[in-house]
């Protein structure tokens, strides 16, 4: 199925958000996630199902003013 990760199209067979992150090499990374505009807490990623056309944001700390 096709999903969008950080604005880029991505083909995946991952069933959950946790699987998708692992597939994209985020294991061990300090990141926060959102699924279709809603905050997806770290503790829920194993249970959050990924579906066709889902919009996923994976974000990390960055400099800011």
């Amino acid at each position: 199925m096709r999903v969008t990760v950080n604005g880029q199209p991505h083909e995946t067979a991952a069933a959950t958000l946790a699987e998708l992150l692992s597939e994209l090499n985020y294991d061990g990374a300090v990141v926060a996630t959102a699924l279709n505009g809603e905050f997806a807490p770290k503790g829920q990623r194993l249970n959050l199902t990924v579906s066709e056309n889902d919009q996923i944001e994976v974000i990390a700390p960055m400099k800011g003013g």
Partner: protein
């Protein structure tokens, strides 16, 4: 005297941003030179392979400063709330510098969205530092929403213009004598920071004026001095201004004085 922000006491009244420096090393040196105990940070999309954010986060954690995550770039209530929720998990702090931007040229706050986002976040236990204007009515609504700190702009972000609306800022200070007020954005020179502190503002938040200076570390030191000077001047109660001259040298006994 220390400054209390949501129950956290800090000595420095200068808050510094972490963006736009020539290098990470100069950013760290500038933070140290400024004496700032609070630094603003942000969130951006991360690549699974590059992981630029991880290195930045290690630097900031090692510096020992307390972080104030922002929602920079958010233009809707939904974006700002979700970004704040992600920031709370990442940075492990309930603090958020809430920005809901309403206009691209001036980056001025969408105050309607700001109040709504503040209400949602405060109800979820966030400690919100709203980036706002000097508007008194908006300030009232932010306080009613649960904000305990207000951060009015001096001028548009990154403009370096100083305090654009002196009357408005003075009125805000007079109207809310007990609320911690931080001038956030638009400060270009140490004299602007001193002026805001002389008005009785509690602290200054800036980034570009230090980061884009020819010598950011020296400028950080200058801002620290100016902020301290302004605060000391405020506590010392400045004299009243007047329209006409008033001689400081005693008039009585002036040589050749015949009146």
């Amino acid at each position: 005297m220390s400054l209390d922000l949501y129950g956290t006491s800090v000595q420095s009244r200068l808050l510094l941003g972490t963006s736009l420096y020539p290098s990470p090393a100069i950013m760290l040196e500038s933070l140290k030179a400024s004496g700032a105990e609070i630094a603003t940070v942000s969130l951006r999309r991360e690549s699974g392979t590059e992981r630029a954010g991880q290195a930045f986060w290690s630097l900031i954690k090692d510096s020992g400063v307390r972080v104030l995550p922002n929602t920079a770039g958010c233009k809707t209530v939904k974006e700002a709330v979700t970004t704040a929720q992600m920031a709370r998990e990442l940075f492990e702090t309930p603090w958020v510098k809430l920005e809901v931007i309403g206009e691209d040229d001036t980056l001025q706050p969408d105050v309607f969205g700001l109040v709504e986002a503040a209400r949602i976040l405060c109800s979820e236990g966030f400690e919100v530092f709203p980036y706002t204007t000097e508007d008194l009515v908006v300030a009232e609504k932010l306080l009613a929403a649960g904000c305990e700190v207000l951060m009015p702009w001096g001028a548009p972000i990154g403009s370096g213009r100083g305090l654009n609306n002196l009357y408005g800022l003075r009125s805000l200070r007079a109207h809310f004598p007990k609320v911690p007020l931080v001038v956030d954005a638009g400060i270009g020179l140490p004299s602007h920071a001193a002026q805001a502190m002389e008005l009785g503002y509690d602290a200054i938040l800036l980034n570009t004026a230090v980061a884009k200076a020819g010598d950011p570390v020296a400028m950080a030191r200058a801002f620290a001095s100016a902020t301290d000077a302004g605060r000391t001047a405020f506590e010392a109660e400045p004299m009243e201004t007047r329209d006409m001259a008033a001689p400081s040298t005693p008039v009585a006994g002036t040589p050749f004085w015949n009146n």
